[in-house]
């Protein structure tokens, strides 16, 4: 190699080291700088340049130091590695890992979304004498080594829609899917199909996708990662990160900072450490299955050995996923298991039979169901828990007996009787009416009789109807009234500029008006007990899993105290309340996300409660209503324990809906981020209370990531409705009536009252 190029190479390596250590001072870096300086000086002074041996020594020193430095990498350094333009990207993998590939749906920037890359790729395998090409669908974010139009791998909603489309294609073609997660997060715009709603759709489909999915995580930025990350096998690159939020974002929230000021590097480092975002952390927590070791200081495009390892790893993982569900399991499965380290020796076809793909989906669902159990506290005693699980089985059996075995027969019988009755009525009319007419003409009704009939009519029209209700029908309509109504003061309606509403007296507003401005209909935010009592008849409901409790699984600093404070202030153990209640006689399972408990954020406890509620509704064949009083997103202090609730809960909801239930979501106040982008946003029936906001990221985050200021009403329910994200807007005072109507008219075949 020519000297100049070698020197340039070494210079680049040093620059890379400086970049990823973010300007931190370190002995190794100082040494390398000094040594390189010496060599450069000598190179300039010596005619003909330095000796090749000298360069080799320097290269060795660099290799040695890089190994040393690799052991010192902090989580934040890893973040800088994956964000570095020299980091391998999906194109490199397609070039080096697969034997051939064809990109689908774009060429460079001529693409509906260049940050989402789709390719048909294959591995060429030698089987005996033949060469077999094993097809896979490759889907993943492309960062393109910093090409501007790749948007840093931040995928727009339509990019995720494209990804979903080709997942479905792979399902149809019966080939495995390899997804690659290279994203700092999704691009938070609401334009159709909408950032949150599209991720939710992807999760919902992947929850039951009948094709094996292997995911490789390099940069797993929260919701953007989940859009392609729900997989049967999840491999993480050793220098990657997988996190609920960027360390900078966490630091901004932690420091309570406004958008225009920046958090200190120390705080960002600390957040990165606390969020437990590294590959090993995630392996330990059970959120990835395997970690693939990268070269020191992270894989770059020239690390060909690494690509070989990745190829082996991908084949191995795909083999595993397929062999696990194959009916002819024994021999090959053993072979697959034995082949760790050299996957290429085993060849198996990757197409699946129908029953195998059923098993695949089932296994995938169980896999996620089992995650994150360690991240919440179940205060329910062991015996109670066992009783509960036994009860679950009994309910399911009971429902089957009542509604399937007997119910169906009864329904058939009822329908027959109804038909018979209708027939009989016609026959009777036909026979009797002429007779009656003749009778009437012969024997005219006496005056007395007519008089009597007239009196009855008169009575009905002039006497008090339903006297049992009492004469007075007026009075307060509400079973629960906000304590704010006790204060003698007035407030202005926020829409006063456009609607000229007079100021409202608070006792009227929060009492009679249920928090609704009588002149413009603006809904002031209302406490969640209002809905519990005025909509869900909470006093007569049966709450369950009340003792399932939020905790601090990452030992996040100061979070224990904050959590205790939230528990004390709200009297809740998590942000989620689940109970059974009757809405105008229809038995229903309800899950409520309460905004006052840590902003209604979703962590492991909330997710677990939500899942159990969905399962309970499924077993009892009851409708399942999620009332979102408000949610700020996934609870960042729980890290991936929180993010993983997105696929977990979506899977639970998917199972419930596939079982023939009715899953209805009602948003109130403000609902944002992860939950909307998963188990809430995937519901086919999403409604919002007036004046609520629904979206993916708040205006501040949007301004920061996209550089655009959005209109103040960007996330308003009306915009969500016109964008197609939700399906109706309800008046708070009519929620109960509308819910009842929905219960009667929507949902699947397997509801107990159908």
């Amino acid at each position: 190699m020519d000297t100049d190029r070698r020197i340039q190479d070494i210079k680049d390596r040093l620059a890379y080291i400086r970049d990823i250590f973010g300007g931190k001072e370190d002995d190794h870096i100082r040494l390398l700088t000094a040594k390189l300086g010496e060599v450069l000086d000598r190179d300039a002074a010596t005619p003909g340049g330095v000796q090749a041996e000298e360069l080799s020594r320097l290269e060795d020193l660099f290799a040695f130091s890089e190994r040393k430095l690799d052991t010192q990498l902090t989580p934040m350094d890893r973040v800088r590695i994956v964000r570095h333009p020299q980091r391998i990207c999906l194109k490199d993998i397609l070039e080096n890992v697969y034997d051939n590939y064809t990109e689908i749906g774009g060429r460079g920037e001529f693409n509906i979304d260049p940050s989402m890359l789709i390719a048909r790729a294959y591995f060429s395998r030698r089987v005996g004498e033949r060469i077999v090409n094993q097809m896979v669908m490759v889907i993943g974010q492309e960062k393109g080594h910093g090409e501007a139009y790749r948007n840093g791998g931040s995928v727009k909603p339509w990019g995720n829609a494209k990804a979903l489309h080709y997942m479905k294609v792979a399902e149809t073609e019966n080939i495995p899917i390899h997804t690659f997660v290279f994203t700092p997060g999704a691009y938070p715009v609401e334009d159709w199909p909408g950032a949150a709603q599209q991720i939710a759709r992807n999760l919902y489909e992947m929850a039951a996708l009948r094709a094996p999915v292997v995911a490789v995580f390099s940069e797993g930025g929260s919701g953007g990662a989940e859009a392609v990350g729900l997989a049967d096998r999840r491999i993480m690159l050793s220098h990657g990160y997988y996190s609920v939020i960027s360390p900078e974002g966490a630091a901004a929230i932690e420091g309570g900072l406004r958008t225009d000021s920046r958090a200190t590097p120390e705080l960002i480092e600390k957040c990165a450490r606390q969020l437990r975002i590294t590959a090993l952390d995630n392996l330990e927590n059970g959120y990835v299955d395997r970690v693939l070791q990268e070269p020191p200081l992270g894989a770059r495009p020239t690390h060909y050995d690494f690509f070989r390892d990745l190829r082996r790893e991908l084949i191995q993982a795909t083999n595993e996923a397929v062999s696990e569900v194959r009916s002819m399991k024994l021999f090959r499965a053993m072979a697959v298991r034995a082949s760790v380290g050299d996957a290429e020796v085993v060849f198996m076809r990757w197409n699946l039979s129908s029953s195998a793909s059923n098993r695949l989906v089932d296994l995938r669902q169980r896999k996620f169901r089992a995650m994150s159990r360690h991240a919440c506290l179940d205060g329910t005693g062991l015996i109670k828990r066992m009783a509960a699980s036994a009860r679950g089985t009994v309910w399911a059996a009971n429902s089957f007996l009542r509604y399937d075995l007997l119910g169906r027969q009864k329904k058939r019988l009822d329908a027959m009787l109804e038909d018979l009755g209708a027939e009989a009525h016609i026959v009777r009319r036909k026979l009797l009416m002429p007779l009656k007419r003749i009778m009437d003409s012969i024997l005219p009704v006496t005056n007395v009789e007519q008089q009597k009939k007239g009196d009855a009519v008169r009575d009905r029209l002039t006497r008090l109807s339903c006297p049992e209700d009492g004469a007075c029908l007026v009075g307060s309509e509400w079973a629960w009234i906000s304590p704010r109504s006790q204060e003698d003061r007035t407030v202005s309606c926020p829409q006063v500029r456009t609607h000229h509403c007079p100021d409202l007296w608070v006792p009227d507003l929060y009492g009679d008006f249920a928090g609704v401005c009588p002149s413009c209909g603006h809904h002031f935010p209302m406490e969640y007990p209002w809905y519990l009592h005025n909509v869900f008849d909470y006093d007569r409901s049966r709450e369950f899993n009340q003792r399932l409790e939020s905790m601090n699984p990452l030992g996040y600093e100061q979070f224990d105290a904050k959590l205790d404070q939230a528990k004390e202030r709200t009297g809740l153990k998590s942000a989620c309340i689940t109970f059974e209640t009757a809405i105008n006689g229809v038995e229903t399972v309800v899950a409520v996300l309460c905004a006052p408990f840590r902003g209604g954020s979703v962590g492991a406890a909330e997710g677990e409660k939500f899942i159990r509620a969905a399962e309970r509704a499924g077993r009892k064949r009851q409708p399942f209503i999620a009332y979102v009083h408000g949610t700020a997103g996934i609870r960042i202090q729980e890290g991936v324990n929180g993010v993983i609730q997105m696929p977990r809960c979506t899977i639970a909801v998917r199972r419930y809906i596939d079982g023939g239930g009715l899953y209805l979501v009602l948003y109130d106040t403000n609902s944002y981020a992860g939950p909307v982008a998963s188990f809430l946003g995937c519901s086919p029936y999403q409604f919002a209370v007036h004046s609520s906001n629904i979206g993916f990221a708040g205006p501040g985050v949007i301004a920061e990531t996209t550089g655009m200021a959005v209109a103040p009403d960007y996330h308003s329910a009306y915009h969500a409705l016109s964008r197609g994200h939700i399906h109706g807007i309800w008046d708070r005072r009519e929620v109960r009536k509308n819910l009842h109507q929905a219960l009667l008219t929507m949902g699947g075949r397997n509801l107990y009252y159908r």
Binding site: T490, V491, S492, W505, A711
Partner: protein
């Protein structure tokens, strides 16, 4: 023919408009310490979502409401002697000397150039729903008016009667009344530009755009 130069010169001779800020309703007034001569600004931001300079507060029935400057300008008079006192509705509180913006000058000059359809009586005026809809969706200049066309609804003493347009055919170029405002008899309601004069009017606008510097 319209003498734009002359018109502009008259405006330039007195490029200010005095805005009087009245107490919108009764209440106790507090000022924020602004003095005569201080600069203030009106609403701003890409969506005009940020309010103008805070001038003071008016508190009524325990509701403390901010009073913001509606436009850019310089504080003329400020009634600091009312600090902490109960004021009646309509009490003048602050005056702002507002340097006319380009848009305002255009409107001012256009009033001379356009055909003005005036209020026949003191009343509240509304556009008929079809026109209202069109104005909202497609903006001014999307509605063409003809002699005898039913254009507005006159609302007076709880009675509503239709009002037909009379004047030359043309497009609505300016609207001079707000929803729910009382318009005095003889005040202009809309400015209409006959189609053959459209280019002249556009010239006027372009001239002012280039000659008037205040945004």
């Amino acid at each position: 023919m319209l003498n734009i130069k002359e018109l502009l010169d008259t405006v330039k001779a007195s490029p200010y408009r005095e805005i009087v800020i009245h107490a919108p309703h009764t209440g106790v007034v507090e000022f924020t310490g602004l003095k005569a001569g201080d600069r203030v600004h009106g609403r701003f931001g890409e969506y005009k979502e940020k309010p103008g300079t805070l001038l003071g507060h008016l508190t009524r029935e325990k509701n403390k409401k901010p009073i913001h400057a509606p436009e850019k300008g310089e504080v003329g008079m400020i009634r600091t002697e009312l600090e902490g006192k109960f004021v009646e509705a309509g009490e003048p509180l602050v005056t702002i000397k507002h340097f006319l913006t380009r848009q305002e000058v255009i409107e001012l000059v256009l009033q001379k150039a356009l055909y003005l359809f005036r209020a026949p009586e003191r009343a509240k005026y509304y556009f008929v729903p079809e026109v209202d809809q069109k104005l909202k969706v497609s903006g001014k200049r999307s509605v063409k008016v003809r002699e005898g066309m039913e254009l507005m609804i006159v609302s007076r003493m709880k009675r509503e009667t239709p009002l037909s347009y009379s004047g030359p055919e043309g497009i609505i170029y300016s609207v001079y009344f707000g929803r729910g405002d009382n318009v005095d008899e003889g005040e202009p309601l809309i400015g209409v530009c006959p189609e053959d004069q459209l280019s002249v009017i556009q010239d006027v606008v372009a001239r002012i755009q280039s000659e008037w510097e205040e945004e």
